[in-house]
Amino acid sequence: MAERAAAIDRAESAPSPIRALLGNVRVVIGGTVVLLLLVVALLADLLAPADPLRQDLLFFYLPPFWMEGAEPGFWLGTDSLGRDILSRLIHAARIAVTVAVIAASATAVIGTTLGLLAGFYGRWIDTIVSRLIDIWMAFPPVLLSIVLVAVLGAGLHSVIIAIAVIDWTRFARVVRAEVMVQREQDYIASAMVIGLSRWRTLTGEILPNVLPLLLTLFTLEMGIAIIVEAILSFVGLSLASDFPTWGGMIAEGRQVINQAWWLMAFPVAVLIVVVIALNMLGDGLRQALDPVLRR
């Protein structure tokens, strides 16, 4: 049949998303570091050479292994109470990852829900959400988080709640804008025309199109959550001070930076590497997922 022959099958297979991801340098480098961080956090008990809380007052301020006066077994030296810095870094990673994952998830859920509703339904819902975002963004986030944690009381829960309460605007803003773009697309009109309800259009048609964006935002948010947790533990509003957190270690090291620079240098370095890796991963995800899905 002539018609059949004319309907040329141009279905050349597009590169799979997985392959696109692995071909992206940022995703590979960032992803590797993040994966490493996750493994370290999960296996902290096995990987840490010593108990992070064990004090040894004979060996305080030991330098890292390549310097004179280093003791075998204490690879990155010890702090003022003779606790092993490497072990403390490893255990602190656990806290950082916990906060990053839970806080970013909570932030994503709150922000995405509000952003979807505001962007799709518009009108008074959009007005309320948008004004809320405006109000929220008028506060300096660090100050707000410190106040919040001070009110809620120090501790990991408060840190997570504070991050979610403050940072949902990031998701809400971006998701709202993207939904407004998607809502005007023809395929949404098509979905409405076949009789799909608004709710199903929102969850079944629009949400999948916003998903790559969410993935990117989530990664970036994890980096932000880790920084905020470090800030709060730096000012002593996170966990009790003997338990290792990167921020807490930086605060301790700051006081003796002239005698023992490594106390502060290592947690700072780890923090920088992790946050850069998360940002790279987020950037890479956006690059890798966009051209496939937004053709």
């Binding site: 309907a7 099958d9 141009r10 025309v193 076949i194 799909l196 999948p208």
Partner: protein, 297 residues
């Protein structure tokens, strides 16, 4: 016999109460069972708005001021959202203008065709799959099983338009709005798509509101034609009458402005500006006579 679609005195405006710009000025249109009715007009004549009003996908700010859109005797404008949704997709469907954007980029073809089957026919997984393949086969897509697993960007424009046509006919609707279904396609594909729509129409006996600016397309597919300009239906009649004995000067001007393959030597005449000015003045006078309606400057 009740017509499938009976639009009467449809007034539509964009903007708020104070400064509403009239888009449709009392459009009337009647389509009988199984008829193909062409709605012809230039860009901005309001032809797409008629279809959009019927399907309840008007752009933001557009409001129906007055009129009825009776589908099988029921006024679509005054139906509840729920009742309207039951009709849309099942009794009335759409073949959209641009097949490149009318499919969701992140969902597979099969899943998108399946939506309407699950929603309106209550088919379950196995039956849905089989029916989707049947439908794709019905619009002459080769290897329908494979195509059903593809994403929209993996198909050509013509293939996507076939998918959309399959979806439009999926529930055997009484009426299909075809909103410039061939405009976004290149000429060779246009012909195939047009023939496909005509064949499907003949097989299912579906009435079609065929919105287009292309008089050539109208001549090929439509039984009845309405000419719309400035939101008004200027002339209505059978396609044969419109082409052989156009009564309204605007219709004559439109025909004179269309290239004809049987008279290749003819010079094309643009629609005279004086005529357009006359029509615009008439429209403004009509607006002024409508109570409460003011037109924006």
């Amino acid at each position: 016999m009740t017509p499938v679609l009976d639009i009467r005195g449809l007034h539509l405006a964009i903007g708020n109460r104070r400064r509403a710009t009239p888009i449709l000025r009392g459009v009337g249109l009647k389509i009988g069972v199984g008829e193909v009715h062409g709605l012809v007009g230039e860009s901005g004549a309001g032809k797409s708005m008629v279809g959009r009003a019927l399907l309840d996908i008007l752009p933001g700010g557009a409001v129906i001021a007055e009129g009825r859109i009776d589908f099988l005797g029921r006024d679509m404008i005054r139906l509840s959202e729920r009742e309207r949704r039951r009709l849309l997709g099942r009794e009335i469907s759409l073949i959209p203008q641009d097949p490149m954007t009318a499919l969701n980029p992140v969902r597979r073809i099969g899943a998108q065709v399946a939506d309407v089957l699950r929603l309106h026919l209550g088919l379950k997984d196995k039956a849905v799959q089989a029916r989707v393949v049947d439908l794709l086969d019905g619009v002459h897509i080769r290897e329908p099983e494979r195509v059903a697993r593809r994403y929209p960007h993996e198909l050509s424009g013509g293939m996507r338009q076939r998918v959309l046509i399959a979806t439009a006919f999926a529930c055997e609707p009484k009426l299909i709005v075809a909103d410039e279904p061939t405009t976004a396609l290149d000429v060779t594909v246009q012909r195939q798509i047009l023939r496909l729509i005509r064949d499907m129409q003949a097989r299912h006996g579906t009435a079609i509101l065929f919105i287009t600016h292309d008089l050539g397309v109208v001549a090929k597919i439509c039984g009845e034609v309405s000419v719309i300009q400035g939101g008004r239906i200027l002339e209505h009649g059978t396609a044969e009458a419109i082409f052989s004995r156009p009564a309204h000067p605007y219709t004559r001007a439109l025909i004179a402005a269309t290239p004809r393959y049987d008279r290749p030597g003819d010079r094309l005449q643009p629609v005279p500006t004086a005529l357009l000015a006359d029509l615009a003045r008439e429209a403004l006078e009509l607006d002024a006579r409508r109570p409460g309606a003011t037109s924006a400057p």
